[in-house]
């Protein structure tokens, strides 16, 4: 791609990931979560929005096994999958 003498065209510039690199899961500690996620994807014709819970579980597994730095799930875009705060739950419980 970069071998042609295209001085006017914009070329792709790879960017490093925001949170760095995933350490490799050499011992397959989170393999079961991964399998669940892949199965969900295959069942839902690879629609990511339907399998977000499984991806959240996989990332939580990684964090538990020190394969990923611990971070609150909201920061990873899973705000909608978190449990609602207790005050809201009480309000919902009231008739």
């Amino acid at each position: 791609m970069s071998t042609a003498m295209n001085f006017g065209t914009k070329s792709f510039k790879p960017r490093p990931p925001d949170k760095g690199s995933f350490p490799l899961d050499h011992f397959g500690e989170c393999k079961s979560f991964k399998e669940k996620f892949m199965k969900c994807l295959r069942d839902n014709s690879f629609d990511n929005s339907k399998c977000r819970l499984q991806s959240k579980d996989y990332l939580e597994c990684r964090m538990d096994n020190q394969l990923m730095t611990k971070e609150p799930m909201e920061k990873l875009g899973f705000k909608d999958l978190m449990d609602p705060p207790p005050s809201q739950a009480d309000r919902d419980a009231k008739p």
């Binding site: 990931p17 925001d18 949170k19 690199s21 690879f46 629609d47 990511n48 929005s49 990873l76 875009g77």
Partner: protein, 275 residues
């Protein structure tokens, strides 16, 4: 002086042209005619000369010794006019010189200014300045726009890993984080260290493709006969939906390529360097 020359030129010119014309047409007959004309020319010369010469010299003398009063007025006028012109010329010259220096300065200043502009507007796929991780927390998925992300895996010829994606495609919407997996296997009997880079096609969409975490740009070591899952956690910027250039883009291809890393080799990380 001028009148004298004019008179001469006129008379003789006509004679000369007439002569030349007649010579061209009738070379034999014209000799006598030509001589007559020439004599006429000389006579006019003699007649012209004294009168005009006299008048010219008189005029000349008059110009050299004019009455004093007139001299002062005229020279003062011309001198002040000349001074004014000189001043005007100087100011114009300084303006032009300043403009020239300004242009040269601008051309030097344009380099960092353009870089700043590119960072702010994100043209050319460069790192956008307002690219913070808090956006992940606050962004809202754009439900109406479904994008297909296809995955491609390549290895360099020298690396003996088996590297392939675990899903061929995945459907995401901008603003939603997504997870995808690649698998790598080392079939050989010795550990191999690999390092990867990625590419996004179409590359204008590359500036909207943000990876939160992946396995690229760092050395990954695979032991003999080991197989690992390599995840990529990414999202597409919600501004993707608002970019008119991306209106027809429905498929984004993410392509990873693995290279073998030699011991002690340090590959430069693609940071926010100005390339």
């Amino acid at each position: 002086m001028v009148s004298f020359l004019g008179c001469l030129a006129y008379r003789c010119d006509s004679a000369v042209t007439a002569m030349s014309l007649s010579l061209l047409l009738h070379p034999s007959i014209c000799c006598t005619q030509a001589s007559v004309l020439l004599a006429q020319c000389v006579r006019t010369l003699h007649s012209c000369a004294p009168k005009t010469l006299h008048s010219q010299t008189g005029h000349f003398l008059q110009r050299r010794f004019p009455p004093r009063f007139q001299v002062r007025n005229r020279s003062r006028k011309t001198r002040s006019q000349e001074e004014e012109w000189k001043k005007k010329n100087k100011t114009v010259l300084t303006y032009i010189a300043a403009a020239g220096v300004g242009m040269i300065g601008l051309s030097y200043a344009a380099v960092p200014l353009y870089r700043l502009y590119c960072q702010a507007s994100g043209l050319g796929g460069m790192a956008v300045a307002g690219h913070d991780t808090d956006q992940v927390e606050t962004m809202k998925p754009v439900k109406g726009r479904i994008i297909k992300v296809t995955f491609n895996a390549d290895t360099h010829a020298s690396i003996q890993w088996n590297f392939k994606p675990q899903q061929t495609e995945i459907y995401v919407v901008p603003g939603e984080t997504a997870l995808a997996f690649y698998r790598a296997k080392n079939p050989t009997d010795k550990p191999i260290i690999g390092i990867s880079t990625y590419n996004v096609v179409p590359f204008e969409a590359g500036q909207y493709f943000n990876k939160i975490q992946c396995f690229c740009f760092e050395e990954q070591r695979l032991n003999p006969h080991e197989e690992v899952d390599m995840p990529v956690f990414f999202y597409i910027d919600p501004d993707f939906d608002e970019d008119p250039r991306m209106a027809r883009v429905d498929t984004i291809t993410l392509s990873y390529t693995f290279f073998e890393a030699k011991e002690g080799q340090k590959l430069p990380l693609p940071g926010y360097s100005y390339q």
